[in-house]
């Protein structure tokens, strides 16, 4: 902490709740010595809507649209975690086609979410052009979702027992065209951003998250894989058809912002691979199992676990045998990532805080619930 000069007084600086780089309403109380961060206290709850409490007063199908509003950048992962937990409670088997469609939806959402990460991360670090490119490609995915689900962000399209509806004509072709386009666009991002000297200087070696610390704090997803830990729920506990698909779990050993960024960039390529396999193998058949009008799961508890674009998104549902859940708990990866953030920020400058915060890719909707 000593600079060799006269000791300076610590000052407290509020970053947020209205700050373009806090990606929502997050307040970071930074304690600074000069420009160096000595301590950080994240203050959350600005977006708390009490979704877990609301769920207690809703029937099982009614809870579903609320899950979209947690991690709003990838609503299908939220739907999936909740639906998985409820289906475990019910012991419900889902038609094969629905499983494939779910994976298609999940992976499209993963790419969309990572594109938002790419866009905002680049924007935070001064590369505004990439922001526009990221949003442009994301729009192609939004088009696919609107023609299938009739909504862009809050799709609620993974339903208990299957998916909301079958894909419309032309969907497969349009999705395959997207799969052909995307790798080329990813190459472009790499050319404009990944190799850029300024971008590298701001991300390489910045914001170290040691793997042991990450695991100890419950970090997951690209944040943890950027620290070299090969943990992916899709591989560890394959749900739907992930067990039959061929994809790699991308890791980087560098533990820095660049590592986390590269993991996400590579993951988009893997998602394209998964999408292509699913679209080509898509079986015929029903897309929704028979579900009773009033869903009354037997007493018990279930834990639905999904690899969302941010990490392990899970839903813990306790049933007391009534049509309304006794408890619905959402385990949000960003919540854990934000709790380890103070450890990652220590010793870095204020300017790096933007890069480090951007690199863990939080969504406040799921943090505050």
């Amino acid at each position: 902490m000593t600079t060799g000069l006269t000791p300076t007084e610590h000052i407290t600086l509020n970053m947020g709740p209205q700050h373009p780089s806090t990606h929502g309403v997050l307040r970071l109380e930074l304690e600074l010595e000069g420009e160096v961060i000595v301590a950080c206290r994240p203050i959350i709850g600005y977006l708390h809507r009490g979704i877990e409490k609301m769920a207690e007063a809703r029937t099982y199908p009614q809870v579903l649209p609320y899950t979209d509003r947690l991690d709003y950048l990838s609503s299908s992962s939220n739907n999936m975690a909740y639906v998985q937990a409820v289906e475990k409670l019910l012991g419900l088997e889902v038609p094969e086609r629905a499983k494939y469609l779910r994976v298609i939806s999940l992976e499209l959402n993963r790419i969309a979410s990572h594109l938002v990460f790419l866009a905002t991360f680049a924007n935070d670090l001064g590369a505004t052009t990439v922001f526009l490119y990221g949003m442009r490609e994301r729009e192609l995915i939004m088009d696919l979702f609107s023609m299938w689900a009739g909504a862009r962000l809050t799709q609620s399209w993974i339903r208990i027992g299957g998916v909301g509806a079958d894909i419309p004509d032309g969907f497969v072709d349009q999705a395959l065209a997207f799969c052909r386009l995307m790798p080329k666009r990813l190459d472009e991002y790499d050319r404009i951003l990944t190799g850029n000297r300024i971008f590298r200087a701001r991300t390489e070696g910045v914001g170290i998250l040691p793997p042991e610390l990450g695991v100890n704090y419950g970090a997951s997803g690209p944040t943890l894989r950027g620290s070299g830990v090969e943990f992916d729920v899709r591989r560890a506990e394959p749900y739907e058809v992930y067990g039959d698909l061929d994809f790699e779990v991308v890791t980087r050993p560098t533990c820095d912002c660049m590592g986390r960024y590269l993991v996400r960039m590579q993951e988009m390529r893997q998602s394209v691979r998964i999408l292509e396999q699913c679209l080509k193998r898509l079986p015929e058949g029903e897309v929704r199992a028979k579900v009773p009008r009033v869903i009354r799961p037997p007493e018990g508890e279930a834990y639905g676990r999904v690899e969302s674009p941010r990490g392990e998104f899970a839903c813990y549902v306790v049933s007391d045998g009534s049509p309304r859940p006794a408890r619905v708990r959402f385990r949000a990866p960003s919540f854990y990532h934000l709790s380890v953030l103070p450890r990652m920020l220590q010793g870095w400058k204020v300017g790096d805080a933007v890069a480090i915060l951007g690199s863990i890719d939080i969504v406040l909707g799921e943090v505050d619930r």
Binding site: I44, G45, H48, G50, E52, K53, E56, L213, V215, N216, Y217, G218, A219, V229, F231, A236, E237, Y303, R305, E312, A314, Y316, V318, A326, R327, R329, R331, F335, Y336, L338, S339, V340, R343, D368, R369
Partner: protein
């Protein structure tokens, strides 16, 4: 694992059953830190989820620890009274317990002894009551 837990914690282990990949145990509050430390020694390094629910007559605080190498889950349920509950904090063992414990305090009113910074987290500091209690 069940046998080992039983021989080591005896009375404190209220129940134990294996459900698929989940080992569900229920332990008395006093034994929680030792059980957690024991689990961590046995590979359960990852605190997947820490939460609670109101079962009507009592609260259940649920700790889900995961062994990333084997994929096994250890679900530790700790019963607690509905008001004035005090549990030992797991923050010294799992850093990831920090915020979830604050959340449980905020929403259920369970106090965690030994927590470094037990404040409300989602609700404002002047909020009265604990909304997830039924």
């Amino acid at each position: 694992m069940i046998e080992e837990l039983r021989s080591r914690f005896g009375e404190a282990l209220l129940s134990a059953e294996q459900v698929g990949r989940e080992l569900r145990v229920s332990v008395a509050a006093a034994a929680l830190p030792e059980v957690a430390a024991f689990a961590k020694e046995h590979g359960f390094h990852y605190p997947a989820d820490i939460t609670a629910w109101d079962a009507g007559d009592e609260l259940r605080v649920v700790y889900r620890l995961v062994d990333l190498a084997s994929g096994e889950h250890l679900v530790i349920t700790v019963p607690a009274p509905r008001s004035g509950a005090r549990l030992p904090s797991l923050v010294p063992i799992f850093g990831g317990a920090d915020w979830p414990e604050r959340e449980i305090y905020d929403l259920f009113g369970v106090r965690f002894d030994g927590h470094p910074d037990l404040r409300r987290i989602l609700l404002t500091d002047d909020w009265e009551g604990h909304p997830l209690l039924k």
